[in-house]
C-alpha cells in the first residue's frame, strides 16, 4: 500500500511542545515512504517556510496547518473554581482549553485563512501594559475562515465529551462545528497506547470512530506527532515540564513514547486495533486510512504559488509620493532633482554622474524595484523630519540613486563604489538597504513607519530564541528536580555554546575540567540537554527588520503583537521573509548615533554652539588634523568601530591620515582579511617597507589605492572585469561564486580562457588568479566600509573637539564594547573632570558643565546622570530633575518623592552631600522620613538651622566603602580608580603599570594587574583558540593574549575572576602596538585578601602553588584535552578552533561588586 499521511504534526516551533525540527520531520517522512506530511504547530505558522523548503528537498508534499486553542461557541463567563492563591511557587498552567487542528485546503485562500485565524488568535490576548499576555485563543466566531479543513481530535471539546463518556454532549458540541465547516469537518482518532478513556487511549479512539459513523462525519487517523523518532519520549517530558513549569514526575503520567512519525505499516496496525475496538471488521481499517489519505489529498497548498515564495510586493506607489505617476517616473524625477540639489551637474565630471544615474535607473526599471527605492526614501525622509540621525549602511551605499534620494550619505562616484555590488541585471535576489537610526529612538521610527503605511502593510520580523547550552541545562535541570544551586553553577560555567556541544565541550575545554569530573553524577542531564539543541523556546521581535508590503500582507503572513510595545510582528523570521518575497527594510538602532546626537545636543545646550556632524567636510582632502592625531594615538576608546583591542592595535600599525585610510582600516579588521593575512603586506607596503606590486599594469588602477593588496569586493569585481571584459555585473556574480569550492573550479577555467583571449600571458593569469582565489571571498564591501567610516570619523572628531560632551553621550547611550567605568577612566585620563552625582545638579542624562575657563577639556566637566543609579525608574529620575533645586533634605524628600531604597543609594554615592551631615546620618534621616511618611511614629526632624541636616553620630563611609557604593550603585568608580586602593600592594609585587608598560622592551617578562574590561575568544587565522583580555589599571589599558598552551592553567581564572594579576611576556609589533602574552594568572582580589589578612607571607605560598590545576580526570591518553587538534573547517577554507568565536563563561565575578550589572565586556568575537 502507499504511504500514510500524517495530518497532525508538531515541530519544535510549537514552543516547548514539539521535539523535532521541521527539517528532521520532512526527512524522516520521506525515509519512511510517505509522500505528504502536514505541519500543524501550536499557535504558530513560523515553521512553515523551513518546512516547505525541507519538503521540497526531501521530495514530499507539504501540507500547512496550525493547532489552536479555541473559545466556547457561546461566549459566557466560564465557571472556574476559584482556588486559593498559592503562598509560593505560583499556580498551575491551565491547559484545559480545547485545541483544534486546522489545515489549509484551498490554495492561497486556505493559506490566507490560516494566517487570518492565527493572527486572530493572537490578537485577542489583550494583555495590555504590565499584565502578562494570556495564551493565544481563537474566539469561536473567528473560526469561520474559508478554505480550511478542521480536525477535531482528543483535545477538542467534542473529544473531551467523548472521553467523559457523553456522546450526547459530544453531538451537541459537534453541531456548531458542522454548521461552520460542513463537509470540511473531520474527527481525528489517536491511539498512543494509553489506558483508560483519556486522550491517546484505545477506547477514546474507538469511540471517536464510532461517533463519526453515527454522526456521518468522516473520521481520520492521526498520531498527534510531536517528535520524529521513537525513543524521544523523555525529551517530550522535559518540554512538557518546561512548559508547565513543573518537574517531571516519574510516577505521574509521562509521555507515551508513541507520538513519533510512524510509518505506514505501523499506522495500519493502529487503524486495525481502533476499528476492531470500535466493533467493525478489521478491513474497515483501510477505509479509515483511505479517508485520511483523501483528506490529505484535498489539502492543496502550493508553496510557490500560494505562500508567495519567490514573488515580491512593494507598497502601492501612491503611498510613497508617486501620486498618479508610475513609481519609475517618480523615482527618475526625484533622482534628477537630487543631482541638481547636490550640484553634481555643475561639478567636475557632470557627464559621469548623469550616465551613472541613468544606468542605475535602467537596472531598477528592469527589476521593477522603483517603489522599493521610493519606499526607503520616504522612510528616511520621515525619520529625518523627526530630527533623528539616520544613515544608510550596507551595499546600498554603492548606488548613486540612493545617494541622490538622500538615503546614503557618501558619494559613491567619489569613493569608487559600484552599483553592481548592490544590484544588477543579473542579480535576482532582493536588494537590501539598511538604515541606521539612533537606538534610543528606534521605536519612534517604527511607529512612524507604521503610521505612514498602516498596520495592514507593515509588520516587524520575529526572531526565535533557541535553546543553547545554558538554557537547556536550566530547563532540563529543573525538570529533573536537580538542586537549583547545582543547576545554576553548571549553567554558568558553560560558555555560550550550542546545546548539542555540551558533552564535547566538557571533554575539551580546560575551564570545564572540574565540571567534567562530576559529569556522571547528573545522569541523563547531558543527553537531554543535547536533545533540546536549537529548539525554539520563545520568540522575540527582531531588533531591526521591518516588513513593508502592499495591502495583502496579512493574507500572506500571520501577525502577532509584540509583548512590550504591541507592534504587529510577523511570525516568520528574517530568512523566512526573504524566501516569502516580503520586502524587509533593516532599521538598525545604533547606539553610537544616539550618543553623538546627545553629545551634539549637550554642546548646543551648554554653549549655544550648533555642531552639524553631517556638514563636516572630511571625505575629500585631509580632514581635521586633531582628529587624525587622536586616532593615530590609538586612544580611541568609545570611537565607532575602532575601539576594540584588535582595532586599536591595527590603528597603531596603520597610522591612518585620511578618510580613505579609515575605510581601509575598517575593511581590514574583519575575520576574513585577518584570517587571510592581508594585514601584514598592506602595512608593510603602506610604510614603504615592501614594494608595491601589481600582477599587471592594467590592474594598477583598481589596486593603487590599497598598495596592491586586495581589500574590497569592488576591487575583485574590477580585476575580473578588467581581465575578462565580462562586465561588472557578471564579475560580481563570479565574485560570489568564489566562496563555493565547487564553482571555484569552474570559474578558474572560465577566467583563464577569457583572460587568455584578451591577450594576457599565462604567468599574469596565474598570478592574478592566485590573488582572486585567495582574497576573493574574504574582502569587504567598500560601500559598507565607507558607510561605517562616516560615524567613525564623526565620533573621533567629537572626542577630539568636545571630549566632555562626547563622554556624556557615550555614558548616556552606552554604545561600546567596554563597561562604563572604563569610559570614565578614559575621560579622567584625558583630563575631563568627573563631577559627582548631585541631586541639585545632575539631570536624567549625563551632562556637561563649565568647571573652569582653562584646562585640557576647554574647562568642561562631565556631570554624572541620575539614570545611572541602580534601580531608578524613568519617572523618578524625571521627577528629581524637574524639582531642582532642593533647599534641604526634607524639601528633596517631599517634592522629588524618591523611593526609600533609591534615596538611600543616592545618599551612599554622595548625591545628597550638599544637605550637610555625613552619608550615614543622611541615610538615618531618610529612614525616619520614610517611617514618618507612612504614618508610623514620625515626629520632628532633627534639623539644625533649617537647611542643614543634623549629625546623628554615625560613622561616615570610609573611602573604601564609598568606592564600593559607587560601584554598587553606579557600576562606576567615580571618585577614583578602583585599582588605586591596591597600588601599594602592586608596588610591593613590582607590577608594571599600563603607562610604564609602553616603555617595556619586546620579550621582557612583566607582571601586570588590573580590572578586567573585556574578554574575547575570536576566530584566529592559526585555527587556535586565543583568549584576549583587556585589563584596566587606572593608568591605561593592557591588552593580554592567552594562547592554547596556557589555557589549562589560566582559562578558568581569566573567565571567572574580575581583578587579575598576570605574568606575561611583552610583544611589540609597532611603535604603538603592544600586548602581553599571558603565562600565569592569579585572582588579584584573592591575593589582596591574603595580603590583608596574613601579610606577604600568606601571599607567597599562593604564588608558589603550581599554576596548572591537577588533571584528575583519569587521563585521556594521547595528548588529552585542550589542544586536541580538532579544527572546524570553514566553508571559506580556513580552519577554526571548535571553541573559538563564542561568548566565554563567567557572568558572575567571584569577586567584586558585579552581581547586578556588567562591569566588563564579553563579545562573541568577530567584529562587525
Amino acid at each position: 500500500m502507499s504511504g500514510f499521511a500524517h495530518l497532525h504534526t508538531a515541530s519544535g516551533f510549537s514552543l516547548r511542545y514539539g521535539a523535532s525540527h521541521p527539517e528532521r520531520l520532512a526527512e524522516r517522512a520521506s525515509e519512511r515512504g510517505m509522500d505528504a506530511l502536514a505541519l500543524t504547530d501550536r499557535d504558530t505558522l513560523a515553521g512553515s517556510v523551513r518546512f516547505a523548503k525541507a519538503c521540497a528537498k526531501a521530495g514530499i508534499r507539504p501540507l500547512f496547518g496550525v493547532e489552536l486553542a479555541v473559545g466556547d461557541p457561546t461566549p459566557s463567563v466560564r465557571r472556574t473554581a476559584r482556588r486559593r492563591a498559592p503562598v509560593r511557587g505560583g499556580a498551575f498552567i491551565d491547559e484545559s482549553t480545547p485545541r483544534v487542528t486546522f489545515l489549509a485546503r484551498e490554495g492561497a485562500t486556505g493559506w490566507a485563512g490560516l494566517c487570518g485565524i492565527v493572527s486572530a488568535a493572537h490578537a485577542d490576548r489583550s494583555g495590555g501594559e504590565g499584565r502578562s499576555a494570556a495564551p493565544p485563543l481563537l474566539p469561536r466566531p473567528e473560526c469561520a475562515a474559508e478554505g480550511l479543513t478542521v480536525l477535531l481530535g482528543p483535545a477538542s471539546d467534542v473529544g473531551s465529551a467523548l472521553a467523559a463518556g457523553r456522546p450526547d454532549r459530544a453531538a451537541k458540541l459537534l453541531a456548531p462545528w458542522r454548521e461552520m465547516y460542513g463537509d470540511a469537518l473531520r474527527l481525528e482518532a489517536v491511539w498512543h497506547g494509553r489506558e483508560g478513556t483519556g486522550p491517546g487511549s484505545l477506547r477514546l479512539a474507538a469511540r471517536t470512530v464510532g461517533f463519526a459513523a453515527e454522526q456521518r462525519v468522516r473520521p481520520v487517523l492521526s498520531n498527534a506527532v510531536r517528535y520524529a523518532d521513537p525513543g524521544m519520549g523523555p525529551v517530550a517530558d522535559v518540554l512538557d515540564a518546561a512548559r508547565r513549569l513543573v518537574p517531571v514526575d516519574p510516577r505521574g503520567e509521562l509521555d507515551s513514547g508513541e507520538a513519533w512519525l510512524k510509518g505506514a505499516d505501523a499506522m495500519l496496525a493502529v487503524a486495525e486495533r481502533i476499528v476492531e475496538a470500535a466493533g467493525y471488521r478489521r478491513s474497515a481499517a483501510y477505509r479509515l486510512l483511505e479517508q485520511t489519505r483523501a483528506t490529505a489529498a484535498e489539502c492543496l497548498v502550493d508553496p510557490e504559488d500560494d505562500l508567495g515564495l519567490g514573488t515580491v510586493r512593494f507598497p502601492e506607489p501612491h503611498l510613497v509620493g508617486a501620486g498618479r505617476r508610475t513609481a519609475q517616473r517618480a523615482l527618475a524625477s526625484r533622482a534628477a532633482a537630487g543631482m541638481l540639489a547636490r550640484g553634481y551637474d555643475r561639478g567636475p565630471k557632470p557627464h559621469d554622474y548623469w550616465e551613472r544615474m541613468h544606468q542605475e535607473l535602467d537596472v531598477i526599471a528592469h527589476h521593477g524595484f522603483a517603489s522599493y527605492f521610493l519606499t526607503v526614501a520616504q522612510v528616511v525622509d520621515d525619520v529625518r523630519e523627526m530630527g533623528i540621525r539616520v544613515a544608510a549602511r550596507g551595499s546600498g551605499a554603492g548606488s548613486l540613486v540612493n545617494h541622490l534620494l538622500g538615503i546614503a550619505h557618501a558619494d559613491p562616484v567619489e569613493h569608487g563604489l559600484l552599483m553592481e555590488r548592490f544590484l544588477s541585471r543579473r542579480r535576482v535576489v532582493l536588494p537590501d538597504i539598511d538604515i541606521d537610526v539612533e537606538s534610543a529612538r528606534r521605536l519612534e521610527v517604527y511607529r512612524a513607519i507604521i503610521g505612514r503605511f498602516g498596520t495592514e502593510r507593515v509588520a516587524t520580523v520575529a526572531m526565535p530564541e533557541t535553546y543553547r547550552v545554558r538554557h537547556a541545562v536550566r530547563d532540563v535541570g529543573a525538570a529533573l528536580s536537580m538542586d537549583p544551586a547545582d543547576i545554576d553553577r553548571i549553567a554558568k560555567s558553560f560558555p555560550h555554546i550550542r546545546a548539542r556541544d555540551a558533552r564535547a565541550a566538557l571533554e575539551e575545554l580546560p575551564e570545564l575540567r572540574r565540571l567534567a569530573g562530576e559529569k556522571e553524577k547528573y545522569g541523563r542531564l547531558w543527553e537531554l540537554v543535547e536533545a533540546l539543541d536549537a529548539l525554539p523556546r520563545g520568540v522575540a521581535m527582531h531588533p531591526c527588520g521591518v516588513l513593508l508590503s502592499d495591502a495583502s500582507l496579512l493574507a500572506r503572513t500571520p501577525v502577532m503583537p509584540t509583548s512590550g510595545e504591541g507592534f504587529p510582528m510577523s511570525q516568520f523570521d528574517k530568512d523566512d521573509v526573504e524566501d516569502l518575497g516580503l520586502l524587509k527594510l533593516d532599521v538598525l538602532g545604533v547606539r553610537m548615533q544616539s550618543a553623538m546626537a546627545h553629545a551634539v545636543a549637550e554642546v548646543a545646550r551648554a554653549t549655544g554652539e550648533r555642531v552639524d556632524l553631517d556638514a563636516l567636510d572630511f571625505e575629500r582632502g585631509d580632514g581635521d588634523p586633531a582628529t587624525y592625531r587622536l586616532i593615530r594615538s590609538t586612544e580611541t576608546l568609545g570611537c565607532f568601530q575602532i575601539e576594540s583591542p584588535g582595532q586599536r592595535d591595527l590603528v597603531g600599525r596603520l597610522q591612518p591620515a585620511t578618510f580613505h585610510d579609515l575605510v581601509v582600516d575598517i575593511s581590514l579588521f574583519r575575520p576574513g582579511p585577518v584570517a587571510a593575512d592581508m594585514v601584514r603586506p598592506f602595512i608593510a607596503a603602506r610604510h614603504g617597507r615592501a614594494p608595491v606590486r601589481y600582477p599587471h599594469e592594467d590592474l594598477a588602477e583598481p589596486l593603487r589605492e590599497t598598495y596592491g593588496v586586495v581589500v574590497f569586493h569592488e576591487q575583485i569585481i574590477d580585476i575580473v572585469h578588467t581581465m575578462t571584459d565580462c562586465g561588472r555585473d557578471e564579475a560580481d556574480r563570479v565574485r560570489r561564486g568564489l566562496s563555493d569550492p565547487e564553482s571555484q573550479g569552474r570559474i578558474r577555467v572560465w577566467f583563464a580562457q577569457h583572460a587568455a583571449a584578451k591577450g594576457y600571458d599565462a604567468e599574469t593569469i596565474a598570478r592574478t588568479w592566485e590573488i582572486v582565489e585567495a582574497f576573493g571571498s574574504y574582502g569587504f564591501c567598500k560601500a559598507h566600509a565607507v558607510a561605517f567610516a562616516v560615524p567613525t570619523y564623526q565620533s573621533a572628531w567629537l572626542k577630539a573637539h568636545h571630549p566632555a560632551a562626547f563622554y556624556a553621550g557615550l555614558l548616556t547611550h552606552d554604545p561600546g564594547m567596554y563597561p562604563k567605568r572604563l569610559l570614565l577612566a578614559d575621560a579622567r585620563r584625558r583630563g575631563v573632570p568627573i563631577l559627582p552625582l548631585d541631586v541639585n545638579r545632575s539631570a536624567v542624562a549625563h551632562r556637561i558643565e563649565l568647571v573652569s575657563e582653562s584646562g585640557k577639556s576647554g574647562g568642561w566637566g562631565l556631570r554624572l546622570a541620575l539614570s545611572d543609579v541602580h534601580g531608578i525608574s524613568e519617572a523618578e529620575a524625571a521627577r528629581i530633575a524637574d524639582g531642582q533645586p532642593y533647599a534641604s533634605l526634607l524639601d528633596f524628600w517631599e517634592r522629588a518623592r524618591p523611593s526609600r531604597p533609591l534615596a538611600q543609594r543616592l545618599a551612599q554615592v554622595g548625591a545628597l552631600d550638599s544637605f550637610g551631615a555625613n552619608r550615614r546620618d543622611l541615610q538615618l534621616h531618610l529612614a525616619e522620613l520614610h517611617r514618618g511618611s507612612r504614618g508610623v511614629g514620625g515626629g520632628q526632624l532633627p534639623l539644625s538651622g533649617g537647611r542643614r541636616t543634623a549629625s546623628a553620630g554615625l560613622p561616615d563611609l570610609s573611602s573604601a566603602e564609598r568606592l564600593s557604593a559607587e560601584l554598587g550603585v553606579l557600576s562606576m568608580d567615580v571618585s577614583r580608580n578602583l585599582m588605586d586602593d591596591h597600588r601599594e600592594f602592586l608596588n610591593e609585587l613590582g607590577v608594571v603599570s599600563a603607562r610604564r608598560l609602553r616603555e617595556a622592551r619586546h620579550g621582557e617578562t612583566v607582571l601586570v594587574a588590573g580590572a578586567k574590561a573585556a574578554t574575547q575568544t575570536p576566530p584566529i587565522r592559526s585555527g587556535k583558540r586565543v583568549i584576549f583580555t583587556t585589563l584596566d589599571d587606572g593608568t591605561g589599558l593592557v591588552d593580554l593574549a592567552f594562547f592554547d598552551d596556557s589555557h589549562d592553567a589560566c582559562a578558568h581564572t581569566v573567565f571567572h575572576s574580575w581583578l587579575l594579576l598576570v605574568r606575561g611576556v611583552v610583544q611589540r609589533r609597532g611603535p604603538r602596538s603592544l600586548s602581553v602574552v599571558g603565562a600565569a594568572v592569579w585572582n588579584l582580589a584573592e591575593l589582596v585578601e591574603l595580603r590583608r589578612e596574613g601579610g606577604l607571607d600568606a601571599v607567597a605560598p599562593r604564588l608558589a602553588e603550581p599554576v596548572a590545576e591537577p588533571v584528575d580526570t583519569g587521563g585521556a591518553p594521547g595528548g588529552g584535552r585542550g589542544g586536541t587538534g580538532r579544527r572546524i573547517r570553514m566553508p571559506t577554507g580556513y580552519e577554526m578552533h571548535p571553541w573559538a568565536d563564542l561568548r566565554p563563561a563567567g557572568e558572575e565575578a567571584s569577586q567584586g561588586p558585579s552581581q547586578m550589572r556588567k562591569l566588563w565586556h564579553q563579545s562573541p568575537g568577530s567584529a562587525g
Binding site: 498559592p86 505560583g90 544551586a485 546623628a952 553620630g953 566603602e961
Partner: protein
C-alpha cells in the same frame, strides 16, 4: 561563674537525640537550658570546683563523653555569662573550645559582627550594617539615642548594653524536651498534594505516638514546608539557603491525639494553597509540651472520637511491644 554553650553536631533529622545529650550535660551541673534544636547552655557554678577542672577541661570532657556515648561531636564556647558563651561558640571548633575570660569580654565583642548577637536577626543586622555599624565595637560607640532611632527604643537599649558587655541573661533550666519535631524529606521536587498530605499524616502519627510515649500533650503545632528554590540573594558557588514557609496554629485543646493533630496540620497545609511549589521536605513540630495528666479534654457525644482514641491506645500498646512499625495506618502502609 562560667557558662558553657554547647552545640551538638547532630546529623539532620536527629533532633530526637537532643534530650539524651542534655542528660549528659546534667551529669555535670543541674543548671542546663536547652536551646533546640541542637544546643544547650550549662552553668558550671560549682562544677569547676567539684570536678577540680577548669571550664576548658570540662568542655573537653563533655566532648569526649558525647562522642563515646552518642557518637555525636560538639562545639563548645565558654564565657562569664550566657551571651559571651554563645558568642564564643562562634569562634570555637570541634576539639578547640573557645573560652572568653571575664576581663576580655568587651575586647572580644568589639571584633564580632552584629549578626553574631542572639536576637539580632537578618533584618536588624542589615539595618545596622547599612549604617556602618557592622561590628559590636562600632555599635558600642554609637550614641544610645541613635541606636534607638535605628532599631526602636527597647531593642536599641538592649543592643547598646549587650555590645558593651553588659549581660543580664541567666541560665534557666527548662524542660528538656519543650518540643518534638519530625521531618519528611522527598527524594525529588514533589508537587503532588496527595503525597504532601501523606507526609503530613506520617508526621502527625509519629508526633502523636512520641508525645503519648512521653505522656505529654502539645499546645501548638508548627508546619514548615521547605522548597527546592534558593533564596535569590544567597545563590552562589557555595549554594544557598532553601526557602521555606512556616505556619503555626494553636490547638483547640492541648492534646497528643494523632487525628486531632492531623486535622490541624491539614488545615494549615490547605491554607497554603500550594500548586506549582517544588516541595523538598515537610516538617512538623509539636510545641508547648505539658504533662498529659494536666490536660483537659472536651468530651463529645460522638462515639467515633471515643473509638478512635481507644484504637490509638491499643495501637500504642502494640507498638510498645512489637516496635514502632508494628501498627500503622493503612494509607501509610501502601
Amino acid at each position: 561563674m562560667t557558662i558553657l554553650c554547647v552545640r551538638f553536631q547532630l546529623p539532620p533529622g536527629y533532633e530526637a537525640a537532643l534530650p539524651g545529650l542534655l542528660g549528659l550535660l546534667e551529669d555535670f551541673t543541674p543548671v542546663v537550658e536547652a536551646l533546640p534544636p541542637d544546643g544547650a547552655l550549662a552553668d558550671l557554678r560549682g562544677a569547676e570546683r567539684y570536678f577540680g577542672r577548669d571550664a576548658e577541661e570540662l568542655a573537653r570532657l563533655i566532648r569526649v563523653r558525647a562522642l563515646a556515648l552518642y557518637g555525636v561531636d560538639c562545639v563548645i564556647g565558654a564565657g562569664p555569662g550566657p551571651l559571651p558563651a554563645r558568642l564564643a561558640l562562634g569562634a570555637a571548633a570541634p576539639g578547640a573550645p573557645c573560652v572568653v575570660p571575664e576581663d576580655l569580654v568587651v575586647d572580644f565583642l568589639a571584633e564580632l559582627p552584629v549578626a553574631a548577637l542572639p536576637g539580632v536577626g537578618t533584618a536588624t543586622a542589615r539595618t545596622l550594617c547599612e549604617y556602618g555599624l557592622d561590628t559590636l565595637g562600632r555599635v558600642a560607640t554609637a550614641p544610645l539615642s541613635t541606636l534607638q532611632r535605628l532599631v526602636g527604643a527597647r531593642a536599641g537599649r538592649e543592643l547598646h548594653e549587650q555590645a558593651n558587655g553588659v549581660d543580664r541573661g541567666r541560665v534557666v533550666p527548662n524542660a528538656v524536651a519543650r518540643s518534638l519535631a519530625t521531618e519528611q524529606p522527598f527524594p525529588r521536587d514533589e508537587l503532588n498534594p496527595d503525597r504532601h498530605r501523606r507526609a503530613l499524616l506520617a508526621g502527625t502519627e509519629e508526633l502523636g505516638s512520641r508525645l503519648r510515649a512521653l505522656e505529654k500533650v502539645c499546645r501548638t503545632l508548627t508546619l514548615t514546608v521547605r522548597y527546592a528554590d534558593l533564596a535569590s540573594s544567597r545563590t552562589g558557588p557555595n549554594g544557598g539557603t532553601r526557602i521555606s514557609t512556616t505556619r503555626t496554629r494553636t490547638l483547640k485543646e492541648p492534646t497528643a491525639h494523632s487525628p486531632a493533630l492531623t486535622s490541624v496540620a491539614y488545615a494549615m497545609y490547605d491554607a497554603l494553597g500550594l500548586q506549582r511549589a517544588r516541595v523538598r521536605a515537610i516538617a512538623l513540630r509539636a510545641e508547648g509540651l505539658a504533662p498529659a495528666d494536666q490536660a483537659s479534654h472536651q468530651l463529645a457525644f460522638d462515639p467515633v472520637d471515643e473509638k478512635l482514641r481507644r484504637i490509638e491506645e491499643v495501637a500504642d500498646r502494640a507498638r510498645a511491644k512489637f516496635g514502632p512499625h508494628a501498627v500503622t495506618l493503612g494509607t501509610l502502609a501502601a
